[in-house]
């Protein structure tokens, strides 16, 4: 087990490095000159433009720029924002907790609603609960997040006045954005869990368990759900990654602070150091998530654990 984790960690480092290189190349090749974006196009003289380019090291060849960047990064220096000279690392560390809180709460909402409704709808197939669950699933998947967000604001802030419409002050302001993202996630999980539960329910071993006289409840939660969860966990792992990406939209709609908004602004402004820094951090999160998903397999499914041991 330890060995597996270690080897996974090694590949993870490669993945993070690869992601950095890839993003650096994409940003480098994208049309648009960051220097021109930084200066006011109507008043900057060609001389000012050139000076700034030299100052930022953008006149150097690509490989030197990349080597400089990567070297600094290994030393923990992620550079400064090209737009407002803010150091990148403190900026990310400052905004990361807000995004993590949003992702965490929306994951909890998505998983709770998703698994509960998914299981219930499979058990009560074609009943009212099933109908509701499928509706939630469809709604979550098909509604664009910004639309859901605005609907929630209209209902819960403007009409009912229960939650603030925007901002990042305290837990109350986290509810609506997390619910917005959580609904999307729940949509996917409901469908996934429902389908795999239905598949499992029809398998021979369930029939065998019934024949043995086990209670329906024990069969469903003790055996069927456990088997159905394996594909669901994979989806949930990927989904948390999606939720992290979804924060870009949700943080903008709800005017929250966070990594999502930082990267959206940085991409618009072609602010290379900031984009790089954020990508580096998010790729770490993705890798860690994947690792956790893999480890959780072995807990849910003994076959995986045995395979790992041998």
């Amino acid at each position: 087990m330890v060995q597996t984790i270690l080897s996974r960690l090694a590949t993870s480092l490669l993945v993070i490095f690869g992601a950095s290189v890839l993003v650096y190349c994409i940003m480098y090749l994208l049309p648009g000159d960051p220097v021109l974006l930084m200066l006011d196009p109507s008043s900057a003289t060609p001389e000012m433009i050139e000076n700034l380019r030299v100052q930022l090291g953008l006149d150097q060849p690509f490989y030197i720029q990349f080597a400089n960047y990567f070297g600094d990064m290994l030393r923990g220096d992620f550079g400064k924002s090209m737009i407002n000279s803010d150091p990148v690392l403190p900026k990310i560390l400052e905004h990361f907790p807000a995004t993590l809180a949003l992702t965490a709460l929306s994951s909890i909402i998505a998983i709770t609603i998703g698994i509960t409704l998914g299981v219930l709808s499979a058990i009560h197939r074609n009943g009212v609960i099933d109908f509701v669950a499928r509706l939630v699933g469809l709604f979550g998947i098909s509604m664009p997040t910004f639309w859901t967000g605005i609907l929630l604001i209209l209902l819960f802030s403007v009409q009912l006045g229960w939650f603030p419409a925007m901002g990042s002050d305290g837990f109350s302001s986290l509810i609506l954005p997390a619910a917005t993202l959580g609904l999307v996630g729940a949509g996917f999980i409901v469908r996934m869990v429902r389908n795999s539960m239905l598949e499992v329910i029809n398998e021979p071993f369930i029939v065998a368990l019934r024949a043995k006289g086990l209670s329906e409840r024990a069969i469903m939660y003790g055996h069927a759900l456990r088997n159905a969860l394996i594909p669901a966990v994979t989806v949930i792992g990927m989904l948390i990654g999606d939720l992290l990406a979804g924060t870009v939209v949700v943080e903008t709609v709800f005017s929250r602070q966070g990594i999502g908004r930082i990267i959206a602004d940085a991409l618009m402004a072609k602010d290379l150091p900031v984009v790089q820094g954020v990508v580096f951090f998010t790729s770490i999160i993705y890798v860690v998530l994947n690792l956790l998903v893999d480890i959780s397999y072995s807990y849910i499914d003994p076959r995986v654990r045995r395979a790992v041991r041998t």
Binding site: D33, M48, D86, H95, I109, S157, M166
Partner: protein
């Protein structure tokens, strides 16, 4: 079996936890919101309180000299003062400068400065400070943005005595004094500017009615009342310290959220109300709608005159006749925006009101003009000449700010009727597409400005090595008029000069003026005294929050 049961317990526990937490959150949230909304609650008096004001975008910097965004001015105005102030009628009045004289040749200004003014950090305001500021703007190390264009043709300044300064220009400029009133030439504390360098924008220090408290990126900017303030300009009633204790500028880019947060009482005021919400807000008994037209260049579409066939005035006039600006503005802004008729917006010196109603849509005329120029309709309905299709590349640089992308879409439909194919490209990378590669036929822009000299940067033949103008216009007659307009000291003659320029631009169809942008603020009825300066920017000196 055992494990799965305990696992279910954890799930249930988590679910309960979430519910409990969200319950707490709801309670906390509503009290919190209520506290914020009634920030001005102070037993019958309208002193104190916190004005929460939602901004549509995030300011780039609170260093006036380095900022390039109009949205930053809302906050910059509260922190900094200027040497002079411009009244809505265009006249210039004292502010930090109490009086001034202009030399015979119009190239130097001598300002007497107000005594006893201190920056928020205690630095005394004097001639040295003013010299430091003006020199700072033209210093390349400052990386000044829009302020650099405003300060031209500044060359140097001399400290005469503690409270007297002589400012020298390279050439006379009628726009200079007005420009000194603009927030981007606000006076910053020299001590702070030296201390913070390029971080002054995050640690702003001025002499203004409010002092900077904090700026949480993408969340809010907080300023607090400057108790020592007593040198307010003529544009406000309250020359002394503001009535409210603090202003919190919340950054809320999503318009539905912004309006929602005013309606829910989470903020007391929000800027830039989308046209579709204006009617509803006007009918809301708890809300008021404040509106001020911005001054300068209205939103205008510029033809790129250096690209064929747009160098042909007849083809441009055909487009001018085919585009129905009236219906565009009515359709998109529901009667809340004024249609623009000229290269300048109403309210600015020299605005030519005679152009109003001068150009009306005329499809027959458009077709006739294009026929005359040899553009023949093909089977697909698109005109062609010498095997070349008549296509117009329409570039827009904003993700539908003020529905500008929709303008493009409507024009595309309208021009299709006369056989012109319009390719619309929306790109954020204006610097490359427009200013570097010149890869457009039609591109829209607007500018807030207090002086008609703003036209110079858009229509004067660009000098060697300088960035080309948006229109690419190069006409010696217009160049001469623009040069005269910049220096003419007789106001009537100046008006005459700018009238001629505006008429030429419409007759020659160099541009298609579209709309005058109104700066709109939705505010709770509890808020009183939000005023607007001559450019349409909000002023918060007189604000009171009624309990």
């Amino acid at each position: 079996m055992n494990r799965s049961i305990s696992w279910m317990k954890y799930m249930a526990l988590a679910a309960v936890l979430v519910m409990v937490l969200s319950g707490c959150g709801a309670a906390g949230g509503s009290t919190n919101g209520a506290a914020q909304a009634s920030g001005g609650d102070q037993a019958g008096s309208a002193e104190g309180g916190n004005l929460t004001f939602a901004l549509a975008t995030s300011p780039d910097s609170l260093d006036p000299h380095r900022s390039g965004l109009a949205v930053a001015v809302r906050a910059i105005r509260t922190i900094y003062d200027n040497l002079v102030v411009q009244l809505p009628d265009g006249s210039i009045k004292p502010w930090l400068a109490t009086e001034w004289s202009v030399s015979e040749d119009g190239k130097s200004y001598t300002f007497k400065l107000r005594e006893g003014v201190k920056f928020h950090d205690g630095t005394p305001f004097n001639a040295e400070a003013v010299k430091y500021n003006l020199d700072r703007v033209i210093d390349p190390a400052t990386k000044a943005a829009n302020s650099l264009a405003l300060i031209r043709p500044y060359s140097s300044s001399e400290v005469i005595d503690e409270y007297t300064i002589k400012v020298n220009l390279e050439s006379p400029s009628q726009a200079f004094l007005g420009n000194l009133s603009q927030a981007l030439l606000g006076i910053v504390s020299p001590t702070a500017a030296q201390k913070y360098g390029d971080q002054l924008g995050k640690n702003p220090v001025g002499t203004g009615p409010y002092t900077f408290v904090k700026w949480d990126e993408n969340a809010d900017i907080v300023v607090a009342k400057n108790k020592d303030y007593n040198w307010g300009p003529e544009t406000v009633e309250n020359k002394a310290a503001p009535h409210v204790d603090t202003i919190t500028f919340k950054i809320v880019p999503e318009e539905a959220t912004r309006i929602g947060s005013v309606q829910s009482g989470q903020v007391l005021a929000a800027e830039t109300v989308p046209p579709q919400n204006i009617a509803a807000l006007k009918n809301d008994p708890n809300q008021q709608l404040l509106q001020a037209n911005t001054v300068g260049l209205p939103y205008t579409l510029f033809f790129n005159l250096r690209k064929a066939p747009w160098d042909d005035v007849k083809v441009r006039q055909a487009v001018q006749s085919a585009v129905d600006v009236e219906s565009i503005v009515k359709t998109l802004y529901l009667g809340n925006y004024e249609r623009a008729w000229s290269a300048l917006s109403p309210g600015i010196l020299g605005y030519d009101a005679s152009l109003e109603g001068s150009i009306n849509p005329d499809i027959n005329k458009a077709n006739q003009l294009l026929d005359e120029q040899g553009w023949v309709k093909g089977a697909d309905g698109i005109r062609a000449k010498d095997g070349q299709k008549l296509t117009l590349r329409y570039v827009d640089g904003s993700p539908n700010r003020e529905k500008r992308n929709d303008i493009a879409a409507i024009i595309q439909q309208q021009l299709k009727q006369v056989g012109i194919a319009v390719e619309v490209e929306i790109t954020k990378d204006i610097a490359t597409v427009i200013y570097q590669n010149w890869d457009y036929d039609l591109y829209g822009n607007s500018q807030v400005n207090s002086d008609p000299n703003a036209l110079y940067a858009f229509y004067h033949t660009s000098a060697e090595g300088q960035r080309p103008t948006l229109s690419g216009l190069s006409d010696p007659k217009i160049d001469e008029l623009l040069e005269q307009g910049a220096v003419e000291s007789d106001a009537d003659k100046r008006v005459e000069i700018y009238n001629q320029i505006q008429q030429y631009l419409i007759e020659q169809a160099v541009i298609l003026p579209i709309y005058v942008f109104p700066y709109t603020v939705a505010a709770s009825k509890k808020v009183e005294g939000i005023k607007f300066d001559s450019l349409g920017y909000p002023l918060f000196n007189d604000v009171r929050i009624q309990p």
